[in-house]
Amino acid sequence: MASQKISLTINGEPVEAEVEARTLLIHFLREERRLTGPHIGCETSHCGACTVDLNGKSVKACTVFAVQADGGDVLTVEGLAKGAELHPLQEGFVEHHGLQCGYCTPGMLTRAYRLLQENPNPSDEEIRMGISGNLCRCTGYQNIVKAIRYAADKINQAEGAEG
């Protein structure tokens, strides 16, 4: 198989690698970079467990080739916390029991991260629509909505205080 050099940024760190043209971004992240936060749940872009942030958009890494991320900026769940300091979304998921088995959580968190960039103060209905590409089999979503609401409020308060 033909391989190709790619260079990209992953969670703020520059990365250079050689990948097969057909290698999916999810396999590159999980198996080459050992970033096993994003998961694989369906292979057909329906479940969203593989969601990562690529160039400021949520993408499903199981239907993106690694070469498509060449020159790009990737954020995975591993890049959300700043050292020991959790992202407000991560706090919210713990506070509001927004996870059970944890399998959808990394994709859900990275999707919610982008959602709050797109819409910093979403209504509950907008949150539900915003995460509708991410399936959860355990929580029934209600507590995930609360967790994202918690994070939005916390981020908005902090920005209000700064502003």
């Binding site: 479940c47 769940v77 929580t139």
Partner: protein
């Protein structure tokens, strides 16, 4: 702030974070950082990948398998077929139901996507390349898809291997496609009651074939250490110890040379109880190659080959008097088990605990007959977030009670109140053989009716009907039977269904506990620590709970059927109490007091009527330094708990729907769920379990079905076609509770995980049918997809 100030009683209790606390979950810390450790995250040096060649036919002879082209693919090391496994006697495996299942197709295939060959390669891409190039030549056989024709005289014989056998593990059978016949109850008395009754109703109801479909599929990494002769298998196992015993029985390896590890599991819901060909093939490939071998299911593989649920074709009948008092219940069931009987039930119960069919109602007499049959479909029959066929039984009785209400013109809440087992009747012996331990059904239902203003809803419904609008109110007042179970009733491959907990208290007063169960998201690391915290007075935060490693955990039967809290939770409380008994003797020794003068006080023993006391933390140190002369050092124990009975959680649910009469769109306007699971260990976790179970129930009721066409093709086995609700469709849930403690459980707990699935599905169907009840409709087929509801609208010309 004073460092020396004594904490108040309330502060001490709050510090402990024990039973009843909405404690945040301990396991979350790793999951929110992407640091969980699921099986596909495991990468061992030299690890190979396996993938299956699967059957395109539902029923065919395998004439030849050509592996030549596949073996030329760079990276492909081997293509394993049944012929290769036969010398190891691994081409067939025993199932948990006493049948045999093909590991790799042996001369014929029995269902579409059956495993035919296992391609082993250096990476997953090469394995898939290899799979594409294996050529299988088939000779098609007539497929048998409709279970209603399975027992016809000329029906195609599916299982040639057992065609002549008098039984296939679960009693006598009378046809090559027959698996078992199971009857319970008093047939003659039931028939007589039906003959004499003023009113009888009968309804044919299919609980369709669906699939648990956890977000993580099944998989494993098998690693044979040839030097030490030890096989380690990491995998998605809800019951790791059972898997170890089964692997030992299949491979002949000593159990002491097998280590089964369940790492973090991404949801199970019954899908991950059984043993699958992938596990066997990965283990065999590792033994042969000397390399670790990983097998991970794709979603399509998951939906088409491992562990479907339900597929119960039921005819249910009630006999009653004119006032709707039920006199008898009768059910005949045709159970489609697919090509191999691989359901995972206690082995003495081929139809599981289906005889909980009497539900919450005092029904004097009943009779049930279930026949299991083979068809050319994927094997299974697992309990999808329910205790062994309890959800089928609850669905049937809750539907029948509604039909009876319509026939007798008694209100659907009132008919339930008239028929409930009354609180003073407990312990209650049901006519189908169970002893219900406790319950208070009228209180639960009345609380819910008041909360939703039931009478107001009925008035609103009547007004809407006047205007031609469709509004339905569904009630479900279910009783479950969970916590399998008493060893006299329950075993799997001969193993009694007890469970276990080992507790070690360290010298400085922290704890490690290990159990025979395995969380798949239920939060055991949090909730089992809370039980120990209350029993030992040690803060939950200082208690580590571990599960899933057979080299360290005590033997247990695993997590499914809501059995963890009823069985392993009881073992946990009992183990902690044994430790507290020993601690009391140490306390008496250290305080130089009599044991009889000591009393337990949250986190310490104190001498009655004095200031003298010693905390559990101090006792822990004494256990390793200063024990009475006749006592062993240390502070640890293990408890194996054989429950005296099952537990019987119950609930009362009300669902309100509005249906668009032109499109068939069903809008769930309100869902109010009251659950009684006895003592509540962690209310936050309980609510989470209920939200999740109700969402699964919503999915099942409104959309989930694995459909086969007449030739055995699976129609739509991916997440485009198989309905997993998103956040947009999922209704908002309101939860409530009553507490009727279980009288035979050490802390009074009953289990909660499955109630919302079991009780939720009939609430949805009852609501949807209720919207049409004034038009004489008593039945609508599940799942209630928009198309299916539209067909009812169209038949009734309501969409005109």
């Amino acid at each position: 702030m004073s460092d020396t100030r004594e904490m108040t009683l309330e502060e001490r209790e709050a510090t402990i974070g024990g039973i009843g606390t909405a404690r945040k979950r301990k396991e979350d810390a790793r999951f929110i950082r992407g640091q969980g450790n699921y099986v596909d995250d495991i990468k061992l040096p030299g690890m190979l990948h396996g993938d299956f060649v699967r059957s395109s036919h539902a029923h065919a002879l395998v004439k030849s398998i050509d592996t030549e082209a596949a073996l030329k693919v760079p990276g492909v090391l081997a293509v394993v077929t049944a012929k290769d496994l036969e010398p190891l006697n691994l081409h067939w495996m025993p199932t948990l139901a006493g049948d045999m299942a093909a590991v790799l197709a042996d001369k014929k295939v029995h269902f579409q996507n059956q495993e035919i060959a296992f391609v082993v390669a250096t990476d997953r891409y090469a394995a898939t390349d290899g799979v594409q190039l294996v050529e299988v030549e088939y000779e098609a056989l007539p497929p048998l898809i409709d279970p209603k024709t399975a027992l016809d005289p000329g029906a195609p014989v599916i299982r040639d291997d057992v065609a002549e056998n008098e039984e296939v593990g679960q009693g006598k059978r009378h046809h090559p496609n027959h698996i078992f016949e199971w009857q319970v109850g008093d047939e003659a008395a039931t028939d007589a009651a039906f003959e004499a009754a003023d009113i009888t109703i009968s309804e044919d109801i299919l609980y369709p074939r669906c699939h648990p479909s956890p977000l993580e599929t099944c998989g494993c990494v098998a690693s044979m250490d040839a030097v030490n002769g030890k096989l380690t298998v990491y995998g998605t196992f809800q019951a790791p110890h059972v898997i170890r015993t089964v692997v030992s029985l299949i491979t002949g390896l000593e159990e002491s040379k097998i280590r089964i590890v369940s790492p973090d599991i991404g949801g199970g819901f019954g899908n991950k109880v059984g043993a699958y060909p992938g596990y066997i093939c990965a283990a065999a490939a590792s033994i042969v190659t000397g390399h670790p071998v990983k097998w991970i299911e794709s979603r399509i593989d998951n939906l088409t080959s491992t562990a479907f649920a339900r597929d119960y074709h039921m005819t249910g009948e009630l006999a009653a008097d004119k006032d709707g008092k039920i006199l008898a219940v009768r059910a005949k069931v045709l159970a489609d088990h697919g090509a191999f009987n691989t359901h995972a039930q206690p082995m003495k119960w081929p139809a599981g605990l289906f005889n909980i069919l009497t539900g919450s109602y005092d029904i004097p007499v009943g009779h049930v007959k279930v026949d299991g049959v083979y068809t050319n479909k994927a094997p299974g029959g697992v309990a999808y977030r329910c205790s062994f066929r309890v959800t089928e039984a609850a669905y049937l009785i809750e539907r029948l009670v509604d039909v009876l209400a319509q026939k007798t013109s008694v209100d659907k809440a009132e008919i339930r109140l008239r028929n409930f087992v009354q609180p003073e009747q407990f312990p209650y012996k049901s006519s189908l053989g169970w002893e219900y331990d406790s319950g208070d059904y009228p209180t639960a239902l009345k609380k819910v009716l008041a909360a939703v203003d039931y009478e107001g809803l009925r008035r609103e419904q009547a007004e809407k009907r006047e205007k031609g609008e469709l509004m339905g109110i569904g009630i479900s007042t279910f009783t479950e039977i969970v916590g399998a179970g008493p060893v006299r009733n329950c075993d799997i491959v001969g193993l009694g269904m007890f469970d276990s907990c080992e507790i070690r208290v360290h010298p400085t007063g922290s704890v490690i506990a290990r159990l025979g169960t395995k969380s798949q998201g239920q939060g055991h690391e949090t909730t089992f620590a809370q039980i120990i915290a209350t029993e030992l007075g040690i803060p939950s935060d200082n208690i580590t709970v571990e599960e899933g490693d057979t080299d360290t955990a005590p033997y247990g039967l695993g997590t499914y059927g809501s059995r963890s809290t009823p069985v392993a939770g009881a073992a946990t409380a009992r183990a902690a109490r044994k430790i507290r008994e020993k601690a009391k003797k140490i306390a008496a020794h250290v305080l130089e007091a009599s044991v009889d003068d000591l009393e337990w006080d949250v986190d310490r023993f104190k001498v009655t009527g004095s200031d003298l006391s010693i905390t559990m933390k101090a006792i822990a140190m004494a256990a390793y330094s200063n024990v009475p002369e006749d006592m062993e050092h240390g502070l640890e124990t293990t408890d194996y708990y054989n429950p005296p009975n099952f537990t019987y959680p119950f609930g009362a649910y009300v669902c309100v729907v509005e249906i668009d009469r032109f499109t068939g769109d069903v809008k769930v306007r309100r869902f109010y769920a009251l659950d009684d699971c006895g003592t509540r260990i962690n209310p936050m976790v309980i609510d989470g379990q209920i939200h999740g179970g109700l969402t699964e129930a919503f999915g099942i009721a409104l959309g989930q079905q694995i459909i086969y066409d007449e030739t055995g093709n699976v129609l739509g086995a991916n997440l485009m076609d198989y309905f997993l609700p998103t956040a947009v469709e999922t209704p908002k849930w309101e939860t409530d509770f009553t507490v009727t403690p279980c009288p035979h459980h050490p802390i009074g707990a009953k289990g909660i995980g499955e109630s919302p699935n079991v009780g939720g599905v009939p609430a949805f169907t009852n609501a949807i049918v209720d919207a049409f009840a004034h038009l004489g409709v008593t039945h609508m087929p599940m799942p209630h997809t928009q198309g299916a509801v539209w067909r009812t609208l169209n038949e009734l010309s309501l969409n005109k």
